[in-house]
């Protein structure tokens, strides 16, 4: 399984999770885990996704998610999970 981490940060509004999930579904990305918090009016979400069957590579997906973030006024990043496991796990 090829995992990636998606982080979404921005001002909370209706449709954020739906918007992100629709784009992921369109690209055949499976969502493994979602966690989110809303602090004051700010929305923070982290998703662990499986991109092994996605129709494009991680870098291209990262561009798609960044573009979606710009449309929605959010910062959306997609990064392969190894960078985090290498930083924080022995």
């Amino acid at each position: 399984m090829e995992r990636a981490i998606i982080t979404v940060v921005g001002v909370d509004k209706v449709g954020i999770i739906a918007g992100v999930c629709n784009v992921l579904a369109a690209h055949n990305v499976n969502i493994r885990s979602i966690s989110q918090t809303i602090v004051d009016e700010y929305f923070n979400m982290m998703m662990i996704v499986d991109i092994s069957k996605a129709d494009m590579k991680a870098g291209e997906l990262a561009d798609v998610m960044a573009g979606l973030g710009e449309e929605m006024g959010l910062r959306i990043r997609l990064q392969k999970s190894e960078i985090f496991s290498q930083m924080h796990r022995i």
């Binding site: 885990s33 990262a62 990064q79 960078i83 985090f84 930083m87 924080h88």
Partner: protein
């Protein structure tokens, strides 16, 4: 399972504290490029570097995007040219090899190409001296070639003759740079 705070911490390091991958380097041996003809040697060097490293920049950019971390420089490092050009007859011969290295570096788009080097901590050969003598002109006229001279080590001590030669050519290099910059209107003397 990676936690939210760990993801946040890593991205803070990248975004706020300028964590990055400073350089990725491909090492290439040029020993098999040596030929009795200097022109053929230069051609072999150019061909091998452009063949093996042609995707280095592209793949580096892909990796940077995949992991969301900048990769600042892409670099190629080669066999010390004092070894590759050991049969050179003059500093001008070494200069031609440096020109081939620079053309290859520009073709593949890397930021630096290192290895225009003499390892003289255990004394200089005639070829080492010629390479050192060529360094001022090479650094003046090339854009991406990096040069070095190793004049000492913990194990061998320091070769003071090599140090003297390197220093005197270092002064020539600074003089040539000042002349070049003066002619171009950029006087940095």
């Amino acid at each position: 399972m990676i936690t939210f705070s760990e993801v946040y911490e890593t991205n803070q390091m990248i975004q706020q504290e300028n964590l990055d991958v400073r350089t990725i380097t491909m090492g290439i041996s040029l020993l098999d490029c040596i030929d009795s003809s200097l022109q053929k040697t230069c051609d072999n060097i150019y061909d091998k570097i452009t063949r093996l490293a042609r995707d280095l920049v592209r793949v580096g950019e892909e990796i940077s995007k995949d992991y969301g971390i900048p990769i600042v420089n892409k670099r190629v490092s080669v066999t010390p040219i004092s070894l590759v050009g050991a049969a050179c007859k003059s500093p001008e011969d070494f200069y031609r090899i440096a020109a081939a290295l620079d053309r290859a570096a520009k073709e593949i788009g890397v930021n630096f190409l290192g290895g225009y080097t003499a390892l003289v901590q255990k004394s200089m050969t005639a070829a080492d001296r010629m390479l050192i003598e060529s360094i001022p002109a090479v650094l003046r006229d090339t854009e991406r070639v990096c040069s070095s001279v190793c004049v000492g080590s913990t194990k061998t001590g320091m070769d003071m003759d090599a140090r003297r030669v390197s220093r005197s050519h270092g002064r020539r290099f600074r003089y040539k740079c000042r002349r070049k910059w003066s002619r171009s209107g950029q006087d940095r003397a």
